[in-house]
């Protein structure tokens, strides 16, 4: 189990497709660009915390 402290999360949009492409998240104090892929361990942890109600992903600006 990898412990992650996630303090912010926001969707980013691919400017070439105008579709949600990834989540810009601050994990353990580091800004990360996380793909929307459940087999990526950072995205899996983001979604686990979202489902637990402890994290909300902000919509893209």
């Amino acid at each position: 189990m990898n412990e992650m402290t996630i303090t912010s999360a926001q969707y980013l949009v691919d400017p070439t497709t105008n579709e949600k492409d990834r989540v810009k998240a601050t994990i353990d104090g580091v800004q990360m660009f996380v793909p929307l892929d459940p087999t990526n361990r950072h995205y899996a942890e983001i979604m686990r915390q979202v489902e637990a109600g402890t994290l909300t992903i902000q919509e893209a600006e």
Partner: protein
Amino acid sequence: MSKARQLADLGNVYDDGALSNRNRIINGDFSIWQRGTSSTTTGWGYHTADRWNTTLRDGAGTMSQYDMGAELRPFTYALKTAITSAATSSPAIQQRIEDSRKFKNQTVTLSFYAKASKNITVDTYFNLIWANTDNTTTAQSNSITTSWQKFTLTATLPDPTGTYNSTYDNFICRFDLPISDTYDFYLTGVQLEVGDTATPFEHRSYGDELARCQRYYYKVSRIRASARGSTTGSNQSIYSSSFPTTMRVEPTLVWDTSNGQSGTSDHEFYGASAEHVNAYCTINDTSYWYINYGYTADAEL
């Protein structure tokens, strides 16, 4: 070991189907350290040697690269775990191996070399994750002394029911270190083989081992993008590159800003895949701008 014994072991390995690429552990000789050579981070994570997932739990200390010098040649490095403040649960070192289908109901043999600053006991475990359920098996207590010794553990892994889950199911080799004590523990030459025979450590070239590690983690120290006389604007493409090997999954990307930039802002990645990465930014300076950022791509288990 006698020649007859060596030939018998070779015959066993042949029967088990692997005369090369026997070692399922990557970076078992601790030759690759893309993330750095020392860490005091306590929680679970990938902090130093590639592919090795570690924790100091609630203790304190340092995980670092140990130069073998003339010890145990031809090994060059070991992982040194220096526990300076005792933990109440076991500090641990483990490697997660992709795809537990390759290990389910198989007999496997783990071998490794270890020593410590004093006599301690280190426990080794296998964890077969199947249908997102942990099937832990076969704890072996290993008596580590102040001299290098080779240890082996052979076990037949469980054959659990349920359906393989490609997102979660992998296989773990784990070392649990002592609690309520301070010590230095040294580990190298970790090898996991399918079959019941511990063969000599399979030394691979640096390039071969690095390529295997780059499936899970890739570090670029610096990209170089610059221009004079360009127009300002957002979403300007600045970088597009293929990874040196296809990564396990689409990676998490992180900028390394230590080498600086000028005249730009809002640096972001988009349209990446397990094979490829793109980046863009906002150009603010029409006379001259540059970006010397590096980045990391993390597709670890």
